[in-house]
């Protein structure tokens, strides 16, 4: 099986690259993208946006055509992994004029800036958009510290 997610990384020899990836995928680091380095995630599918809302982080990814059961969402410490696979439909009686949509298996790892309360992670999928709500671990939440004054 070829892997279009990888071919699309502006690689001029798509077919060759896909063959290499099939065999040596891990060498290219796609199954576990190196995180923490600037630009290391360039071209990783799916792309991820993360923002902060009070005591939670929300991570969002566009995964059109996928059902929740085709997605695997893993949180370990401060690392979020989105995994899945979209099967390639190949029908003999069809002529393809364009094929731009991706297929194949994918894995995307992002490092979050804070520790996550992994027991309370929630995910929802709507119109091809996956939103993962990641509550901050209690240790990562800002605490209001009362400063006692000794003024009289």
């Amino acid at each position: 099986m070829t892997n279009r997610w990888l071919v699309r990384r502006s690689y001029p020899f798509g077919q060759l690259r896909s063959e290499l990836d099939r065999t040596f995928g891990d060498l290219y680091g796609w199954s576990r993208a190196p995180v923490g380095r600037a630009g290391a995630r360039r071209g990783t599918y799916p792309a991820v946006n993360v923002w902060e809302e009070d005591d939670v982080l929300r991570a969002e990814a566009e995964v059109p055509g996928l059902k929740m059961e085709q997605l695997e969402i893993l949180v370990q410490g401060d690392e979020l992994t989105l995994k899945g696979e979209r099967e390639m439909e190949n029908r003999e009686e069809v002529t393809y004029h364009r094929r731009e949509r991706g297929f194949g298996s994918f894995s995307s790892v992002v490092r979050l800036p804070v520790e996550i309360d992994v027991d309370n992670v929630e995910a929802r999928l709507e119109d091809g958009v996956l939103t993962v709500t990641l509550p901050k671990a209690p240790s990562a939440r800002p605490r209001k510290i009362e400063v006692k004054t000794s003024n009289h």
């Binding site: 699309r8 502006s10 995630r41 071209g43 792309a47 991820v48 946006n49 993360v50 923002w51 902060e52 809302e53 982080l57 991570a59 969002e60 566009e62 995964v63 059109p64 055509g65 996928l66 059902k67 009686e93 069809v94 002529t95 393809y96 004029h97 364009r98 094929r99 731009e100 949509r101 991706g102 992002v110 979050l112 800036p113 999928l125 119109d127 091809g128 958009v129 939103t131």
Partner: protein, 133 residues
């Protein structure tokens, strides 16, 4: 005249310039175009669009697809990681086949739009028998 730019979602690269409608960025949806015996099928990825916000128009051989996308983040959102942008989708195709516009239909599930463009009767492939002399 001011123009807006169509942007490829993954690369962030400009892919074309179109007439302006709104000032938001517009993204070019990824598509597969399949030719079946009796129809052309355009499969477009427009994640985040609601079915009621998708406009499809076919006029004089030009198929246009415009999907409005409502903001999903709170205003003044502070992104910690931002790898893609969010905005409307727009793409236009010149359809070279002869199709029957009155029978165009569309389905939308999970961010994927499937457009069925039935071929007009006269454009359907006919098997031509070759007689041997």
């Amino acid at each position: 005249m001011e123009t807006t730019t169509a942007v490829d979602k993954r690369t962030g690269r400009e892919v074309g310039t179109q007439e302006p409608t709104r000032t938001m960025p517009r993204y070019r949806p990824l598509v597969d175009i399949e030719e079946h015996a009796d129809e052309l099928r355009v499969i477009a990825e427009v994640p985040g669009a609601k079915a009621e916000d998708i406009d499809i128009n076919y006029e004089q051989g030009i198929l246009t697809l415009h999907a409005r996308v409502r903001p999903r983040q709170p205003e003044n959102v502070n992104y910690l990681i931002r790898e893609y942008g969010i905005g409307d989708y727009y793409r236009a195709f010149e359809v070279s086949e002869t199709i029957d516009p009155s029978r165009i239909s569309a389905d939308y599930t999970d961010g994927v739009l499937v457009l069925h463009l039935p071929k007009a009767e006269k454009a359907k492939a006919r098997k031509v028998e070759v007689k041997a002399r």
